[in-house]
């Protein structure tokens, strides 16, 4: 496509400029994708090189090491102990002892690992006890625990390998330090450094361990569930074992292969509405909230605090209460319809299907969401609007800019610059906005064309409420819930990455400095 110089570009009509920008955007996509692949390739290459360097280093350490170092390869911490670093040596040794104990004990690491490929061999059994004239259940393998502890064991092994590597490197360093005639750090020195030059690591240790144990490992576990047949009829312990099924669930959800297409069709339909909902819920709140804030901020408006308080009241009442109440108000014979009937707007028993027909319900949830969402944006916008330098507006007025011009050229860029990241997080959290949808409509009105087998799907169901219905529905298909979770993550990640890089706050960092 034609490259314009700045002057040529500015000469173009507005329409041509937009066209040019659009074309440039689409033309840049292949290059961006190619760039991504190059980046991935480079990353893999670097990773492979790094691993190669590590292995070479380990090998050289063994080759050049003295007998203490070499023995440390098998008894962790031996080198430290024999060179007088008692504290480190004991910790290494203790770690190795605990690791070996954990791995070999009955129903320890080795057991979990050996069961992991099959997720259990013997399911529960039922036996008649003639003495008591009753049936008792014999519980055997537990697929759920096997999967959980299998994952934990793998993490533990990785931790052990890393620790072993540190142990080897320490021996190399200790040898070098001793060779150069300097003394080694004592246990006291190590302890002191923990609150001195290495204090940041001391502080970070706990949060990092917490994230690993309470966030990363559960996520790995939950992702793995997507590749099993874990559901109500295969709960892994009380009724039947579950096992690996490979990509079957993901294929079903995406309609790949020969299986039923209902899930894929339902997924597509719900994803579309989820994106629509997230878009409207985010931007209606954003612009209307900003508008309200500007109105209240305007000079000459009385009772500013009063207006704000009224709006903030909706935040003060828990959504559980207000939304359930509102859903009753808008029911077929709810307050709103009965009021309209009694004042004669609606004749007889006529009613407006606020929440009981496809599009009215979709519009209603977006409108009701505005009511509960505006106060938040209003609060944020109020603070920002007060911060915009007034001289910008004054000079704009002198230049004869209209109110609208001032808004699009001063207020909006300023707001977008500061609240860009907020907009993005709101968009993603709206995609997962369980509360508003579930409390208002429970996903309804029912969507007859969407498969009922996938948990009675309605027209206002988001992926997250569908996920909830699938897990609590007739078949409790946890694996589909996991698949949906993964897919939602992918969608949100793509949108977030693309939008984040387009944000003014990221692109033009210096604009409002």
């Amino acid at each position: 496509m034609k490259q314009y110089t700045d002057l040529e570009y500015l000469k173009l009509s507005k329409f041509r400029r937009g066209l040019h920008k659009l074309a440039a955007f689409f033309l840049s996509i292949p290059r961006a994708i190619a760039g991504l692949f190059v980046k991935i390739g480079l990353f893999l290459k670097n990773a492979a090189l790094a691993v190669g360097r590590e292995i070479k280093d380990i090998f050289l350490t063994f080759k050049n090491g003295d007998w203490k170092t070499r023995l440390s390869f098998f008894i962790m911490g031996f080198g430290n102990l024999s060179r007088g670093q008692i504290l480190r040596g004991v910790l290494f040794l203790l770690f190795q002892a605990v690791f070996i104990f954990f791995m070999v004990k009955p129903t320890g690491g080795l057991y979990w690992l050996s069961m992991l490929p099959s997720l259990g061999k013997e399911g529960p059994g039922k036996a008649y006890d003639p003495v008591y004239d009753t049936y008792v259940t014999a519980f055997n393998d537990n697929s759920f625990q096997i999967l959980l502890y299998g994952v934990l064991t793998i993490f533990f092994i990785i931790a052990c390998v890393i620790t072993w590597r540190i142990n080897v490197r320490q021996n190399k360093l200790a040898q070098q330090i001793l060779d150069s005639g300097k003394p080694l750090k004592s246990g006291k020195d190590d302890l002191r450094s923990m609150v001195d030059d290495n204090f940041h690591k001391t502080l970070l240790a706990l949060p990092l361990a917490g994230i690993l144990i309470f966030t990363v490992m559960p996520i790995v576990f939950m992702i793995l569930v997507a590749f099993t047949n874990y559901d109500g009829a295969h709960d892994g312990y009380t009724n039947a074992l579950f096992t690996w099924v490979g990509l079957e669930n993901i294929n079903t959800m995406l309609g790949i292969g020969a299986g039923s297409k209902v899930y894929a069709a339902t997924f597509g339909e719900i994803l579309l509405w989820t994106l629509m909902w997230a878009f409207f819920a985010t931007f209606t709140n954003y612009f209307l909230g900003m508008l309200v804030a500007m109105m209240i901020n305007k000079k000459g408006i009385q009772f500013k605090k009063g207006w704000r308080t009224i709006l903030v009241m909706t935040i003060a009442i828990p959504q559980f209460i207000s939304l359930l109440y509102v859903s009753k108000m808008f029911a077929q014979n709810g307050m709103v319809n009965q009021f309209l009937q009694s004042i004669g707007v609606l004749k007889g028993l006529n009613y407006i299907p606020f929440l009981s027909k496809e599009w009215p319900a979709r519009i209603s949830v977006i409108l009701i969401n505005i009511w509960i969402g505006i106060p938040y944006v209003m609060l944020i916008a109020t603070g920002i609007l007060m911060n915009i330098p007034q001289d910008l507006y004054e000079s704009a007025k002198i230049d004869g800019a209209s109110g609208w011009k001032q808004y699009t050229k001063i207020t909006l860029p300023y707001m977008l610059f500061i609240t860009g990241p907020y907009l993005l997080t709101t968009f993603t959290s709206n995609m997962n906005n369980f509360n508003v949808i579930y409390l208002l409509t429970s996903g309804g009105p029912p969507n007859p064309t969407a498969s009922s087998a996938a948990g009675s799907v309605g027209f206002t169901d988001l992926l997250i409420t569908w996920l909830f219905k699938i897990t609590t529905g007739a078949e409790s298909q946890y694996y589909f819930a996991s698949v949906i979770g993964i897919l939602v993550f992918i969608v949100v990640a793509i949108i977030s990455l693309v939008v984040y890089n387009l944000l003014p706050s990221v692109k033009n960092e210096e604009d409002f400095q």
Binding site: R88, L91, F95, F102, T107, P124, K126, Y128, D129, V131, Y132, D133, Y135, V136, T137, N142, L148, Y149, T153, F155, F156, A159, C160, T163, I166, K185, S193, N198, K201, T202, L204, A205, L206, L208, A209, I213, G232, D235, Y237, T238, N239, A240, S260, V262, Q332, N333, Q341, G348, L349, Y351, P446, P448, S452, A453, G455, S456, G473, A474, E475, S476
Partner: protein, 546 residues
Amino acid sequence: MMKKMLAFVLAMAMIFSLAACGGGNNATTAAPTTTAGGQANNTTTTAAQPATTPAGTASPLAGTYQIKVWAPDAAVELTKKQIDDFNSKNNDGIKFEATVEAVSEGEAGTNVITDVDAAGDLYFFAQDQFARLVLAGGLSQLGKGAADIVKSTNDEGAVNASSVGGDLYAYPLTADNGYFMYYDKSAVDEAHLGSLEDLIADCEKGEKYFCFNVEGSAWYAASFFFGAGCVSEWTTDADGKFTAVNDTFSSDKGLIAAKGMQKLVTSKAYIDSSDAGEFSKGAAVVVSGPWAYNDAKAILGDNLGAAELPSYTVDGTTCHLGNFSGYKLLGVKPTTDPARSAALHKLAQYLTSEEGQLERFQELAFGPANKNAQQNAEVQANPGLTALAAQAPYSTVQGNIPGTWWEIGKVIATEIKEAKDEAGLKAALESYNSKIQDVLKIDTSGYILVGAWNGWNNNDDAYRMENKDGAFMFTLEVPESDYMGGRIVTPGDWDTDKGCTIVTEGKELIDLERTDNNDNNIIFKEPGTYVITYNQAAGTITIVKK
């Protein structure tokens, strides 16, 4: 330097979590069994020689058990009292220390399935969840003695409702899980009670509402279809897995039902609800069950009437609305300890005995399932239960129905509401039917042999032909019978083209002359073992006798 320290901290944290969890791995479910050490010993030692224990000495069941019971909110206090009664009355020395938690009968099943370990040891649940619970291993099978008592004292429907393949898995608690019509005497002309159309007209004229939960629940939606004579019957194997279905909702009768339902759901007076509270919001008619009686009475007082469901007329056919007659059941969670299991079953027996059921009726107006309790004068005088009894001739006993059916049946009313014409109604029924077939998840590829040998079950995989490069083969054992015939079909279908007319080899083995053979069946002359091969490309069948 600190990297190492960090690694240690991480590693130690992991060790602790692993050690802590790993240790408890095997013992988890057995944990909440007998309580104090002394009593636990007592039960285990006596367990060794229980059969010979002479009368009068301690029963092997004696001991204190800590249990958790899930009962619906209204029944919590009563259940507590009944357990106390049991503690003082039983002769086995069983003592329960029970915590009773409020979990509604509608939700108990889902909660149990979500986490069987954490579920109540005894729980009240509605019949629609029975099949799911058996499949999920949430119910402990009844011992022989208990099963005999249940069979002899409860009505037949109740026994069927709590058994799978002849084995009992739950105790019938109430037989009132059906619905009928409550109405406001001041708003409805009592002469119109027999006709749905008249009632709707009354409601529209008086600007009152007709509440029938057909869109929200398949349980109510089925009313119209049962009224028109449709059935939905499901068959399970002994494990509770569904193997076959006879569902006629998608038929000419179903179309009549759909037209009848359309009259209601397209009316402005219609509200999708079964809540007696609607009477305070302008409802004239609410279709609901006996449990709504007290609420409705509180709102309407003497104006409250209860009657059987009305009839609807479509194309000259008059159909009396049907209903499900179902049961509420009491389930016992499976345990590994036989003494505990037996004791829990004793308590369940007591709670569901004639006495227990009558007490529940007196306190909560729950209609009993026990035959003797049903004959009680007070029970027979209850207006709600009387209306239910009047509805009884039109009711369908609720058998085992797969959990997904309730979700499939739920949308049928919405589809009927949206349908513009007869074609739309037919499409709604057709879509319902295809979803029903999906439930059984029949593999419709390849061929099966359907016939007398498998009871004409075209959903069963057992007679599936093996595919050898386009030639489908099966070695068939034909038992002696009057009609030793059948044909090759695609699973789930009844195609008649693959029968005796395309047999090219082995014609002498089959009876080609039979006059009753309208379906082109392959009818063998003699019992025996046959190898049947269907060549798909050539469209020929060869039969070889072994």
